[in-house]
């Protein structure tokens, strides 16, 4: 069930995460504000790297560790979708 307050880009990003990392979860069950790393989906730095590739290929947004918002951007699907919206080139 996709809850009505999930934005289309957030659905797209959840799908991208599941596909890029081959997670065995239904993208619509990922809460947009749930943590991606550690407790939440339990992602690690290998996933961060894989995910950054998928993001650069799909949206043309190159992630950088020197970006002061990098931790916040990776905190949830909602935050990641916002960052993509802001930086996307395609």
């Amino acid at each position: 069930m996709i809850s009505p307050n999930v934005l289309p880009l957030e659905q797209e990003v959840a799908k991208l995460i599941v596909e890029a990392l081959k997670l065995k979860v239904d993208p619509s069950t990922i809460q947009p504000e749930a943590a991606l790393f550690n407790e939440g989906l339990g992602l690690d730095s290998i996933d961060a790297l894989e995910l950054s590739l998928a993001i650069s290929q799909t949206y043309g947004y190159q992630l950088k560790s020197s970006d002061p918002d990098i931790k916040a951007n990776f905190s949830s699907v909602r935050a990641l979708a916002k960052a993509i919206e802001k930086h996307r080139t395609k």
Binding site: L23, K24, V25, G42, D44, I46, L49, E50, Q57, S65
Partner: protein
């Protein structure tokens, strides 16, 4: 007594490291090491968890001066750190500002580095001094110590430099995506540069853009010390990497196709290193040219059939190969396959038996097994696990494992099953686990 300098082939105003705050000269380093050595507690061993490569080196050097051994656990999982620390009475943790590890005696890096207030000579360290202990997963679940003398680290650095034509200050520097607390990272990204007058980049770039920025910060040409995973990311991201001299890759096998793409894109040879914690780096190959590994100078292979050991003057005794190999007449060797029970996930080697033991120790788990599926179309194949734990949820088991094992080994997915397909002798045939994996994945519940 024979000894070797802590850092070599520099003048005192040369840049030793490139920190986020700028260059660190040899003069500053000598002062930083001396000041930290005075501030460290008098204990025989420490865990150096500093994430900045320059600060780690200051901690490592200061510990050597005080005859303290730096412990290098096989993972950063808090339980592993505690398990390692428990065996070394009076050990402490040198941590980043604000970081603390529950159950461990933590000392934060107390100093502002880079002040050059103290003058002094470059310290010399006895070659037979044990300066580090690298841990591997043992067959009983207890981390196994591998003692590293200063002589061993220096010898491997010299053999590596001689293999790739690295001379005093040429090429200029080293940028590394690998952690310096890992054996390959320690050897190639710390000891190699500081024994050959090179500039060591203090950061640990992760994303392709980070690698590019780090290379741009460095004066002159650099060696990039990395893994197939990071290399693949850089190739796929179509990033331009400036001023590259050599790419050194290790921790997991590199495909020839990726090596070729990297060489074409970054205009530098991709050299692959073969090594393991017990012996350190032992051989290399240029992946686009050959499958055969050429042992580094000073390494002698001994054995027969598929069972071989490594011998070297600087090793306390013969070290057994973790893989089955065949040795050719010209002295090179080829890897036939990994020894039973060992898996390697993104450069972290572990015994499946140990992981299973950890799983079985969790509250409410009656039976369970980790499983490495056959190659997927992903760069890093992850482990799966099947668990018999009536009344428990996958989440509860996941949380239990998270505290005890390195995140790279966390199973994804983890399946709760009513029973494992054990045969009459209680063993789990691989075919039966493959079948179970297929059934579970088709069922779609993870």
């Amino acid at each position: 007594m024979l000894d070797a300098p802590l850092i070599n082939l520099y003048h005192s105003d040369d840049i030793l490291a490139w920190d986020s705050k700028g260059p660190r000269t040899v003069r500053e380093f000598v002062s930083d090491v001396s000041r930290l050595a005075d501030a460290l507690p008098d204990c025989p061993a420490l865990l150096n968890l500093l994430s900045n490569r320059y600060e780690f080196l200051v901690g490592f050097g200061a510990a050597m001066l005080k005859h303290q051994v730096t412990l290098l656990p096989q993972s950063r999982a808090p339980e592993t750190l505690c398990l390692v620390a428990k065996d070394y009475e009076d050990s402490y943790c040198l941590t980043n500002p604000g970081e603390s590890i529950e159950g461990l005696d933590c000392v934060m890096l107390p100093l502002q580095t880079g002040t050059a207030e103290r003058r002094g000579k470059i310290p010399r360290i006895p070659l037979n001094q044990v300066v580090a202990i690298a841990f591997t997963s043992g067959s009983t679940g207890k981390p196994m110590p591998n003692h590293k003398t200063w002589g061993a680290l220096v010898s491997v650095a010299h053999a590596t430099a001689s293999r790739f034509g690295v001379k005093a200050g040429n090429p200029n520097g080293v940028v590394a995506t690998v952690p310096h607390q890992h054996m390959f990272g320690l050897e190639a990204s710390v000891i190699l540069p500081i024994q050959h007058g090179l500039v060591m980049h203090a950061g640990r770039p992760l994303f392709p853009e980070d690698v590019r920025t780090a290379l741009e910060e460095m004066p002159g040409k650099s060696i990039v010390v990395t893994t197939p995973l990071h290399l693949r990311a850089c190739v796929s991201a179509d990033v331009k990497l400036p001023s590259l001299e050599i790419i050194l890759s290790a921790t997991s096998p590199l495909t020839r196709d990726l090596a070729r793409q990297a060489e074409q894109r970054f205009l530098a040879p991709v050299q692959e290193i073969f090594g393991f914690a017990e012996a350190g780096s032992v051989a290399s190959r240029r992946t686009i040219e050959t499958d055969d590994w050429r042992p580094l100078d000073g390494i002698v292979l001994a054995g027969q059939g598929a069972e071989w050991t490594i011998q070297a003057d600087y090793l306390p005794g013969p070290a057994r190969f973790p893989d089955r190999i065949s040795v050719q007449d010209d002295g090179t060797f080829r890897v036939l396959g990994r020894a039973e029970d060992q898996v390697n996930i993104a450069g972290h080697r572990v015994s499946l038996g140990d992981l299973n033991q950890t799983l079985l120790e969790l509250d409410g788990v009656n039976d369970g097994a980790f499983f490495l599926p056959d190659v997927e179309d992903r760069s890093v194949t992850r482990l799966m696990a099947f668990v018999v734990a009536p009344g428990k949820t996958t989440k509860e088991i996941h949380i239990g494992l998270q505290k005890r094992i390195d995140p790279v080994f966390l199973p994804r997915p983890l399946f709760l099953v009513p029973r494992l397909p054990r045969n009459e002798t209680g063993k789990l045939p691989r075919e039966a686990l493959c079948k179970l994996a297929e059934d579970c994945l088709e069922g779609g519940s993870g």
